[in-house]
Subunit: 345 residues, 2 copies
């Protein structure tokens, strides 16, 4: 076993969309675990849109990655050294190891994975943070009722596909939005959406709104917000009275810098605010890391459905840590199909 | 008793701020009540910001007043004829009689007033729709907790003053916003706000924000939204994580036509949306007419506090139905001090 590890650090902060110059692959000595700590060799790591936010130094719910610091992220792998009674070499674990081939964490920050069940990659997607985000947001803030209509964008992503499949199983009409014909097909045929629109087929929010109006003849009761931008602008005037909007992301605006230029977001605030008022909307922002106390409840509900195949799993696996930046830039452009993962080793 | 009545009708729809040409005083025969109906001679009528919305024909939660139709509104007065067992001449009642000297309503649409208690004008303000709006919005969507900080604009109006006084009694720091030194004094000395800012003293949202930041050293947990515009823009970045924003109005934008020009609302949607996400805000639009089932609960809680003087009452009473349009235009400009009422007879 080599005593060297690889990691990807933030070389500089992006202006707008990240480029390869913003990342740097470095080699370092594998650290030794201290008291109560565990060393893990990472097999797979997760790429998620929230990581774009960590590259900026704007005030947010989490501290930015410092220049020269390892990019943040979750991964799954095998314990190779342990100073904790809770883990032994060979155990499989999930933890926040960053974009790296190896990582050290206190044992209490790790989640042991059951090797007998599903592929460990599911701990990064459908049964990990993204799936939990969809489940919690829909159930807690979406308050779904049979017969209602739900709209979610990034419909084939790990959050959107969870939201759509759960809502469908609860008797809602589900309308997805995705980029490209392949994803539209995937949304309908694999994830069971009643309808799915290709946002690239509509020149602006107005055109998308007209198509959504046809796809949602009874209006929209729940808009699960994970993209912002054109989709938000199209959806807002179609919301039904007493509609709910859980807000967990706005990937369309992640590259917009201060988000205040309005250049890619022509809708002014009053147009949203007026709809919140006149349609009695309930809008709730949330970040899943405030809600880990409900994770066991989520797993208990969702894991059997994944095992039975009622909830489908689609993953997009890039090969090699050195390719993580490219895969991440692709994720922000919607190039991935399903949950984006990197096979590290 | 004359058999003639007076009413004010919508002569034309305003573009921007209403002018006197948009209203017309008309004389008509007093109608006779049909089966189950009651005829009321109006003593006082209410003027409220929501009436501005009824003058437009934009889609909203309520139908617009038709051209030539009587302006909508609530009033209190004396029953002068009744075809219902529930009311007899001489009874005092609240109902939606419009801007008119007399009105007919089905008995079930009227609320009988207890003449032994407070002045009947309180049924239009502190113990009527505006007070109930403040109470319900604060308790249901604001979820106030002792030690938190609340901000409300139009702090000396019937909604804002109810919100501020209730919040103060629950142990919150209360910061009002009002227009002019007299209202600031009233907010602090009569309604007990810990601090009150004169929005006219600040050239823009940024300047107002700086002052609010000083007035709210621990940030803002509840922003009770009844104005929109500059105040909203100033407040949004100061919201604490898990903050709540009940939205019951946006008077600053009522004159803005389609509300989409952005001319008086430079904040683009993403700036609000981003804060909803990163601070996990809960934003709830509501209109009090969906919640009348809780009105008895409100009266039970608030009426004793009004009688005891714990909740203060300030009313601004214009004389004569013919002066209602002027008083209403003044209300939209913030010229009134306290709840705006018109003494009709």
């Amino acid at each position: 076993m080599s005593d060297q590890m690889q990691k990807i650090v933030l070389a500089s902060r992006p202006t707008g969309a990240p480029t390869s110059e913003n990342f740097r692959l470095e080699t370092d000595a594998i650290p030794q675990p201290g008291e109560g700590e565990v060393l893990v060799k990472v097999h797979y790591m997760s790429l998620d849109p929230y990581m774009r936010g960590r590259m900026d130094d704007a005030k947010s719910y989490a501290a930015p990655v410092p220049i020269g610091g390892t990019m943040e992220g979750g991964g799954v792998g095998e314990v190779i050294a342990s100073n904790s009674d809770h883990f032994k070499p060979g155990d499989l674990a999930f933890g926040m190891f960053g974009w790296a081939s190896h990582g050290i964490q206190p044992a209490k920050m790790l989640r042991k994975l059951d090797a007998g069940g599903m592929p460990i990659t599911t701990a990064l997607g459908v049964l990990g943070m993204p799936g939990f985000t969809g489940w919690h947001g829909l159930m807690e803030y979406g308050r779904p009722k049979a017969g209602e209509t739900l709209v979610v964008a990034a419909a084939t992503g790990p959050v959107g596909s969870m939201v759509g499949q759960l809502a469908k199983s609860l008797g809602l009409r589900t309308v997805g939005i995705a980029g490209g014909a392949d994803k539209v097909k995937l949304a309908k045929e694999t994830f069971g959406f009643d309808e799915c629109l290709d946002h690239r087929a509509y020149v602006d929010a107005k055109a998308l709104r007209a198509a959504l109006k046809e796809a949602c003849p009874k209006g929209i009761d729940i808009y699960f917000e994970n993209v912002g931008g054109k989709v938000l602008e199209a959806v807002i005037p179609l919301m039904n009275p007493f509609g709910r909007i859980p807000v967990c992301g706005m990937i369309a605006w992640y590259n917009a810098g201060n988000l205040g230029s309005g250049a890619d977001a022509p809708m002014p605030a009053p147009a949203i605010w007026r709809n919140v008022l006149v349609n009695f909307l309930s809008v709730n922002g949330f970040i899943i890391s405030n809600h880990w106390d409900r994770f066991p409840e989520f797993l208990q509900d969702a894991a059997p459905k994944v095992i039975s195949g009622d909830i489908k799993v689609v993953e997009d696996i890039a090969e090699g840590l050195e390719n993580a930046p490219d895969a991440f830039m692709g994720l922000l452009q919607g190039k991935n199909v399903g949950k984006q993962i990197v096979k590290v080793a």
